[in-house]
């Protein structure tokens, strides 16, 4: 861990906030991707079952 001196709070909070935001964005995108994929597969299965 480097010595951040008197600005440690600022630097660490900047990194924490940014990485947290990026993580939320990624997780949200992945979660939605998974959900939509599952829903689509259900519809496709229903469709293939009919044909």
């Amino acid at each position: 861990m480097p010595d951040l001196g008197k600005y440690a709070g600022a630097v660490l909070s900047a990194y924490a906030v940014s990485l947290a935001l990026l993580a939320v964005l990624v997780l949200w995108s992945l979660w939605r991707a998974k959900r939509v994929k599952a829903a689509l597969e259900k519809v496709e299965a229903r469709r293939n079952g009919q044909d």
Partner: protein, 243 residues
């Protein structure tokens, strides 16, 4: 010679992105981790800014992607309006939240950096103000997509909004510059130090920028895939209703 427009076909797009997405995601993770770690652990403090200079590795790439994200949406909107490729419109839709988050990161890291440096969280500096306005444009764009049910109508309307918004965002940029030129505090307080940063800061910064670009790309591709699937689902369900 295969035309670039082939990739606008949803099937082709899905199969190609299915193969390249893991690579882009992996590369972006490597570049991001390496760049940020290099910047955070291995670079010295700036003689004037102290350790806050490390914030640059988040702030500058995020700010770049905030603007480039909007430019990408503009390009995709134009492609949709001119060539009517659905994938293009959906990619613009997919990029908007990513761009908005980048704008927020740029604003927040800027504020956190500004607090010790300028002694205030927020100043109505032209650059900061422009980003705030850009964020408002992102919000409006996302809200308009969300408000309209029919996919093609939404794509048309948001594309025109993106076009008109780009012109007004540019205008606002100049208006804001003009409005606060008297208070502008000179380049020493500007965050844009690419021109005069020393090499020790420059190379990790470049790596971080590359990481953010790849990250943006990977996320937009992932989200575009989701939008394409949602659209396909909607089309299939409409077909079920008709049959």
């Amino acid at each position: 010679m295969a035309s670039i427009w082939e990739y606008a076909n949803p099937r082709k797009f899905m199969s190609v992105t299915d193969r390249v997405l893991p690579w882009i995601a992996g590369l972006s993770a490597i570049a991001l981790v390496a760049g940020l770690a290099w910047g955070f652990f291995l670079t010295p403090d700036d003689y004037r800014q102290g350790s806050t200079v490390k914030i640059i590795y988040l702030h500058v790439p995020a700010a770049l992607m905030a603007i480039n994200g909007w430019l990408m949406m503009l390009a995709a909107s134009l492609v949709w309006l001119v060539r009517r490729h659905h994938v293009s419109a959906l990619a613009a839709r997919a990029a908007a939240p990513v761009g908005a988050v980048m704008t927020v990161i740029a604003l927040l890291t800027g504020a956190i950096w500004g607090q010790p440096m300028w002694g205030t969280w927020w100043a109505w500096d032209p650059r900061l103000t422009s980003f705030l306005i850009l964020f408002l444009f992102y919000l409006g764009y996302i809200a308009l997509w969300a408000a309209i049910e029919d996919g093609d109508t939404a794509a048309d309307l948001t594309s025109v909004l993106c076009l008109v918004g780009s012109v007004f965002a540019l205008l606002s940029r100049y208006a804001v510059n003009f409005w606060n030129q008297g208070l502008h505090q000179g380049a020493s307080l500007s965050l844009d130090k690419e021109e005069n940063v020393a090499d020790v800061f420059y190379f990790p910064l470049l790596l971080c920028i590359a990481g953010f670009v790849l990250f943006f790309l990977a996320l937009v591709l992932l989200r575009t895939r989701t939008e394409i699937r949602a659209r396909r689902m909607r089309a299939l369900m409409a077909r079920e209703r008709m049959a």
